[in-house]
């Protein structure tokens, strides 16, 4: 008789963004006349850049001709894309990463949830608190997190690293030594960053303790300050302790196109075992590559035209970030983030809970944000707004919030 994976049953509630989606749908059904502005889920709104559209059309044409048709992609992804990644994301920044250390995928969400699979169930994970829920939930599903305490909303076997106002929303080295450390900078949800020397401390710590850092650099394109690292491989020694995850969702608007990649340096070992080989085996056995046309679109992200167009797109969203941050400050809110990241992290007024503020904002201003507590207990009393709306909607949303 078949039995289910009981770990799934331990998961409290549904995935954060599904819950928000349902709440918003219910509100809209009850208030069909209200124009809701969504600054909640980090979904982009600007169309794909012309250079990417051209690359997609051209790849589609190739797929329609017998001479240029492509079937299964190479296991790691097409070389044209991996070479472009190496040149632009690594060599240009002085990082040594080879093309066969890049694993092209359909996005950082899949990679960040699947990567735990190559590690033992005995490993203990450390996460920032608040944190992108996928890191924790994927470990819950695997059975690595112990039991859930509904009161503290924490898992018994997870090391939480609080990111609070007093530490600039940057995690401190944990007291208990973890085996796997999830770090995401620029951070989702707080929009905070750490400097290169701060990240170097994490790399040194991981090398000393034998921990592996899973570094999510999905928001790297939004960095505007010079001492903030774009890649963990800018730090010395990262090749022996760090896996890096990258996404095309935010720098190129690929949330509906689906493309990302994972970097595993060949020197990265646990005991005698190179993680590169394990991930290669997973990729070869359980995945079948990103679509050819999408990989060509990814290549266009690195073309001269693509780079120029996407620089403007990122600037468009960062202008929204500025509008939100300045507007909320003017309205008396305590805000952070929004300088090197498309997320603004605000303190709820009058000590409201995050979900109370969510309901308040939805009902009174018809604006959707994300409750900070949905990202972990230290997110309680905070709220995330994203800069990924349109300029017009962002302006309108802030006007509405100011008018409350």
């Amino acid at each position: 008789m078949a039995k289910v994976n009981d770990n799934y049953l331990k998961l409290p509630g549904s995935y954060l963004f599904s819950t928000i989606g349902k709440k918003v749908s219910a509100f809209q059904a009850a208030n069909p006349d209200k124009a809701v502005i969504r600054l909640g889920i980090g979904d982009v709104t600007q169309p794909l850049a012309p250079a990417i559209i051209d690359a997609l059309h051209s790849a589609v044409d190739e797929m329609g001709n017998a001479e240029t048709f492509r079937g299964y992609a190479p296991d790691l992804g097409y070389e044209f894309l991996r070479n472009a990644i190496v040149e632009n994301d690594y060599k240009a920044r002085g990082c040594t990463i080879e093309a066969d250390e890049i694993f092209v995928s359909d996005g950082a969400k899949c990679d960040s949830s699947n990567i735990q699979e190559i590690f033992s169930l005995d490993n203990k994970i450390a996460v920032c608190d608040p944190v992108y829920p996928v890191y924790v939930d994927s470990n819950v599903m695997a059975g690595r997190t112990g039991t859930y305490d509904t009161k503290s909303e924490t898992w018994s076997d997870v090391i939480y690293m609080p990111c609070l106002e007093e530490n600039g929303f940057a995690p401190e080295l944990p007291k208990e030594t973890p085996d796997l450390i999830y770090l995401c900078f620029p951070n989702n949800p707080t929009g905070a960053t750490i400097t290169k020397s701060q990240l170097q401390e994490w790399v040194d710590y991981a090398n000393k303790t034998g921990a592996v850092i899973i570094y999510d650099a999905a928001y790297e394109a939004y960095i505007s300050e010079s001492d903030v690292p774009h890649s963990i491989y800018e730090c010395e020694g990262a090749r022996t302790c760090a896996i890096e995850l990258k996404s095309f969702s935010k720098n190129a608007g690929f949330t509906g196109v689906r493309l990302g990649y994972t970097v595993i340096p060949k020197e990265l070992k646990c005991g005698q075992t190179a993680l590169h080989g394990l991930w290669a085996r997973r990729h070869g056995t359980k995945y079948n590559g990103a679509p050819y046309i999408v990989q060509r679109a990814g290549e266009a992200v690195y073309s001269e035209a693509g780079k120029a167009q996407l620089k403007k797109q990122v600037a468009y969203y960062m202008n929204n970030a500025k509008i939100i941050k300045e507007g909320l400050k003017d309205a008396g809110f305590t805000v952070s983030g929004g300088v090197n990241a498309p997320y603004i992290w605000l303190k709820t007024p009058d000590k409201m809970t995050s979900w109370d503020f969510f309901d308040y904002l939805l009902e009174k201003a018809n604006v959707v944000g994300t409750p900070g507590s949905g990202f972990g207990p230290s997110g309680e009393g905070y709220f995330r707004l994203t800069a990924f709306g349109t300029y017009e909607n962002t302006l309108a949303a802030i006007e509405r919030i100011k008018a409350l």
Copy 2:
């Protein structure tokens, strides 16, 4: 200190098709003048049908306009695609499947390797022997298969169901009761099928024992005989015991486009737990949808023009299957498959091992096939050829084999 998932280290050798790829590359490097014909990996060669190309171009244009741009897809996939699937793949065949029981994905390889995740590690799997390696390997990686015996090339905790000449390459109900049963008809690699009444026996058996059938119907489009079921839901009672996996790779040439779907009926429960909810949670947490443009391409598969064009494409490959089967028969080989499936399963001559025959065919005829033993111990002494080459290459390959 981080530790790896030891189950990965138990996997013998590399993924079958990676090994073949390496052998062929080495042969070509040593013999640059030889024109190798590949009838090994089941990759298609015909370009995408015009209706699909049109749908892709049109969806790409939508992604380039702010008004029609699409970000994250709905968790289960777009309704336009799920509705088309329900109408064409189920309602038209008298099967009751609702659109919200369809989970759109990037292909059946991912789904067939991920589906085991929602089940307990205590479950015992049963597989056909020979079998598509992904079913077994994904369970090895999860730690569900016990220890590997290098002599018998079997796992201690897997129930093997031999598919041999004497039983028409159809599995018999196993003596030991499994929890999860993987079935694939039309079969990869043997090309064999079972009738609707034979499949009904499996459904009845699963309902009686509480087992769950994972039914891989990836090759359904190649069925030519009327008593062979296209879906397991044609059988009475399948909604309480079966998950069905479908692929667009072979019926529409999407190996490089990536699209598939999984069906989990809401009545399908293990104890009190509906599997639909578990897979929905996995889909929402660890996956982010197939690209919008690819889902539109999938919709075009079901358009009138798409259906007509793809009928021709399937007929093209099945003509190849006939050429291979008849040609090999003429040459004195014992062959099966190729009538309801794009695979021809042949007995190696002179009791050669499968890998010896692979090397022989590669060296003497410069034709690549797949060794039957790569699919399991009962595949030893057999060899798979696929009908997915071009007509010209298929003809040439058979002429070469005949001339040996």
